[in-house]
Symmetry: C2
Subunit: 108 residues, 2 copies
């Protein structure tokens, strides 16, 4: 049952499984940004950013376009934000569950 589909899907989620990559996607919510701008927003250094952008590119989360010497990144599919927001709702509820368990523990 470890199908190629599950393997691909796992790669998809792994690509999202890094704080900086999530920060990059968040930064691109309001439109394309250059790498320099992303450096400013995310506080990550050039090499880090470039490596993580590369992974996001490979999974087609973002696309890049060159304008002279500057490269602008943008998300490939805006629906990713609907998806990320749904994720937030779900882990919000999962977090709440952890809190509930902690509360119970403290009361006992």
């Amino acid at each position: 049952m470890d199908s190629p589909l599950h393997r691909y899907k796992a790669e998809f989620f792994k690509t999202l499984g890094h704080p900086l990559r999530l920060a990059i996607l968040d930064a691109l919510r309001s439109g394309p940004l250059s790498v320099t701008e992303l450096q400013a927003v995310t506080k990550a250094d050039q090499s880090m950013l470039s490596q993580h952008l590369s992974r996001l590119r490979n999974m087609n989360f973002v696309t890049a376009r060159r304008e002279a010497t500057t490269i602008f990144y943008q998300v490939h599919d805006q629906e990713i934000y609907q998806f990320l927001d749904l994720a937030r709702q779900i882990y919000g509820r999962q977090l709440k569950r952890s809190e509930d368990i902690l509360t119970e523990l403290n009361q006992a």
Copy 2:
């Protein structure tokens, strides 16, 4: 911009970033299953399954209940399936893009 929220969110996605863990969640779509049943469905061995179930438990993707000596797992929040299906749509489109690029390459 590497906030605790991005770190938590990354953990959430990382937990989904494994083929067996995705297979487990898929297997639980139609209702709770025991570990033995999950072994049969996923073809994974006992120890593997237990370890991955443990990660899914830690992130509250699943809950376990004991019935005599058998332990049944179920998903904690059914909405996870809506979420996984949305993921499929998105990576479906992302895959399509890769295919398009390949087609272009072959034509050139």
